[in-house]
């Protein structure tokens, strides 16, 4: 069973459907026991970093999520990916879940923000499982980006500056774009996450 963390930050329906269509049983919950009984934990999210951390703290999920990320395959999507990092600077400095080293900063680009639309992935050569997504388009909606070491980056996109699109540290993955809104390619990326974490 896959658990999608419900913490009041946006659209869980499409994320849930993406996994259901791949044949997985899905539960949307903020119940720590249910989260602990899941095989995979998915942290979605739309909104601001600060508001999201407040919701997580209000629901006493902070310590539980840090613990789950050590124990099982864990995937953060969009804002959920940003929360995996140490600090966010949207609406002031906020401590994140500190699972992956790095910070979330405003995108510095000559282009308009938010970075919204279909943009192309470039895959790091250290992540062969994702090679087939080289130059594929996926759907982004965000104004802040991760700044983290090369070794944590699986894929980037170019928007006048290099933006991490997929990050990974061990069994923890983060996806900045919306795989659930990126057509067939997005679904294949979710499938790859499931395959990559299958033997852990």
């Amino acid at each position: 069973m896959i658990a999608i963390v419900d913490y009041g930050m946006g659209n869980t329906a499409s994320v849930s459907t993406a996994f259901t269509n791949l044949g997985y049983e899905v539960v949307i919950t903020d119940d720590i026991q249910l989260l602990e009984s899941a095989t995979h934990v998915i942290l979605p999210g739309v909104g601001s970093f600060k508001a999201a951390m407040e919701e997580i703290n209000d629901r006493n999920l902070n310590a539980a999520l840090r613990k789950l990320a050590k124990e099982k395959p864990f995937l953060g999507i969009c804002l959920g990916m940003q929360l995996l990092f140490e600090k966010g600077f949207e609406n002031g400095e906020t401590v994140g879940l500190e699972i992956i080293p790095g910070t979330i900063d405003k995108i510095e680009t000559p282009h308009i923000l938010p970075h919204i639309g279909w943009n192309k992935l470039q895959i790091s050569d250290k992540h062969p499982a994702f090679n087939r997504f080289e130059a594929k388009h996926v759907y982004f909606v965000h104004s802040y980006q991760a700044n983290t070491a090369e070794e944590n980056i699986v894929a980037t996109t170019d928007y006048g500056t290099k933006i991490p699109g997929i990050v990974r540290k061990g069994n923890v993955f983060g996806i900045q774009f919306h795989p659930e809104k990126s057509g067939e390619i997005g679904i294949e990326i979710i499938r790859t996450f499931m395959n990559e974490t299958a033997n852990r």
């Binding site: 659209n11 459907t17 919204i116 279909w118 192309k120 170019d158 809104k181 057509g183 067939e184 679904i187």
Partner: protein, 252 residues
Amino acid sequence: MIVKRIIPCLDVKEGKVVKGTNFVGLRELGDPVEMASAYSKAGADEIVFLDISATNEGRQTMVDIVRATAREVFVPFTVGGGVRTIDDVTRLLQAGADKVGMNSAAVVNPSLITEASARFGAQCIVVAIDAKRFGDKWHVMTHGGSKDTGLDAIEWAKTAEKNGAGEILLTSVDTDGVKDGFDTELTSAVVEAVRIPVIASGGCGKPEHFSDIFKATDVSAGLAASIFHENTFTVGEVKRICQQEGVDIREA
């Protein structure tokens, strides 16, 4: 870099996709969820639903359609038509819409844009502008393009941006239905005036009209209805021609 988007638009009345908006003798074309799903599989970059229902039942049906679409469609989709209050916006977003479009209500009450944008983020608030040429200016039209508000369309686009709109869906009342191409001058004028993405709408009759407007202006997306619904051209054919013409698109 971000690619140009090709967007099929579905006019929905009382739960069915219909052809035409303001004319008598509307023809039913099919089920909105099935059609949106088919377009998404065919390579549409986004789907727009325009609810032209006249009844409260019809509007409630639209919420059900949005909920079902969120389960079937894996590209972003926007819902507009009859969005009057912050509650309407909330209802559609909670049902699973990625963006909500507002038109007449935003003209009457521009703070609706501000309120919705502050609550849900600019990225999901689309302001739809129907514009018609008057001399060397364009006026904002409401009531399906029939009522002149006297507002300058370019100024209104700037105001919408300032109030928190994340995107502008720009329909030319002059070219709409003529099928002789998008309105280049209007589109260009609005694109130059704002720093948010603009979707061009009205006048598309063949795939080349998409590549024409993408080459002539910095518009972010093109929207069309009839060329897709009448099976004249598929999304794939439109994209292939755009690609041949050197327009950067997502492969269908």
